[in-house]
Structure formats: structure tokens, C-alpha cells
Amino acid sequence: MAAPVKNDSEIRYLNPVSVDVKKKKYCRFKKSGIKYIDYKDGEFLKKFLNEQGKILPRRLTGTSQKYQKKVAQAVKRARHLAILPFVTDLMK
């Protein structure tokens, strides 16, 4: 005997539907008016690196083109002066 079909109109999902509100990315330098990115501050620059010490793309961080260039410059200076590593594992 077939089980009676309860309610066809009710749609059930296996996983709860994620209703994610897309958070608009913004350039933190533009927002807070930072003009110069200091290479001496390794901890700050780590925000723009992944675990391996690679520079994160701006599509992830939201940094504008103008400041992404400066971030890259600062990170590279910091690497040269052994403030940041060139390659690493599990930096954070």
C-alpha cells in the first residue's frame, strides 16, 4: 500500500536555504582616508595575505586598484626586510 501523499505544495529542503544578504565590499583605505600604507607594520599587512603569505586579490578584499598597488608595494618591501615571509604555512 502506497503511503498517502501528504502535501504536495510544501517544498522541503534538505539544507536550510541560505538567505545571504550580500555585503557590499568596500575599499578600507578610501573609506578611512588612509593615504600611505606602511611597510613597517607587518601585522596590518597580514590582513591582505593568505595563510601562505600570498597577497590576496582585490576581488576578495575589496581594495580599490589604486590602493591594491600600494598594498602590493608595501608587502614587497616588508618581505625584503624580513618583516613578512615570502613563503610560509599557517601564518595566522
Binding site: 593615504k35 607587518g42 618591501r77 626586510l81 624580513a82 618583516i83
Partner: protein
């Protein structure tokens, strides 16, 4: 005349006197070649993020100065000749960097003064976060 900033790392095996002598030497190189020192800082012994010449620590020194471009050539030549220097970096400060370094210096100076005055009061000097 441009504003320049230079950082060098000295080997960790040097004594206090040798470090002073080394720091003085490069400041001398700058002043003798028509540069003017704006700011000089010794950051002390710091851990390196990776080994340089098999050394894991180094003494950091920062000098900010103004001068002509050909001074850099002379300075870097001196860096290369001195085997106590394991790494160096010098670059021209753009207008934002100059502004930033002035602000940074004032902050540092303020901190030192505040610490001297308020050692007993135990009040943290409030860092002014200008936008």
C-alpha cells in the same frame, strides 16, 4: 632635493659599541655626501621572518633624510661593501609617505614624553587616530 628613507639590518653578533659605530658610519655617509638627516631610529634586535645568511635575528636601523638622488648610489655602495649589513632598502618617499612619517614621528615623540611624564599615573597615552 628629495626625501628618502633607508632601512638596514645589521648582523646580530655585534656589540653595542659596534652597532653605534655602524649606525654613525652610515649617518656620516649621508651627511658627508650632502644629505641632511631628518630622523634616525634604532629598532633594536628583531626576529627575521626568514633566515638571511643563516641568521634568524638582526638589528634594524632606520634613517630618514633629504638629499640628491646620486647620494643613494654612494650609500648603497657602502652598504654592499660593509659585510656587517645583511640587508638594506632605500626608497624615495612620496608626498603621502612624507606626511605619514611626520605624523609617525610626532606620535613616537609624544609617546616617549607621555611615558616619562605619566610613569606613575599609569595612564595610557591616547593615540590620536587621524583619518
Amino acid at each position: 632635493m628629495n626625501n628618502y628613507e633607508t632601512v638596514f639590518i645589521a648582523t646580530p653578533v655585534l656589540s653595542e659599541a659596534q652597532l653605534d659605530e655602524l649606525f654613525g658610519k652610515f649617518q656620516g655617509v649621508i651627511t658627508e655626501n650632502g644629505g641632511q638627516i631628518v630622523n634616525a631610529e634604532a629598532w633594536g634586535l628583531k626576529k627575521l621572518a626568514y633566515a638571511i645568511q643563516k641568521k634568524t635575528t638582526g638589528y634594524y636601523f632606520l634613517i630618514e633624510f633629504t638629499g640628491e638622488g646620486n647620494l643613494i648610489e654612494t650609500l648603497e655602495k657602502q652598504y654592499r661593501r660593509d659585510e656587517r649589513v645583511i640587508r638594506f632598502l632605500s626608497f624615495r618617499q612620496d608626498k603621502h609617505a612624507v606626511e605619514y612619517s611626520i605624523k609617525r614621528r610626532n606620535k613616537l615623540a609624544g609617546k616617549v614624553n607621555a611615558e616619562v611624564v605619566e610613569t606613575e599615573a599609569n595612564v595610557e597615552p591616547v593615540a590620536v587616530e587621524e583619518a
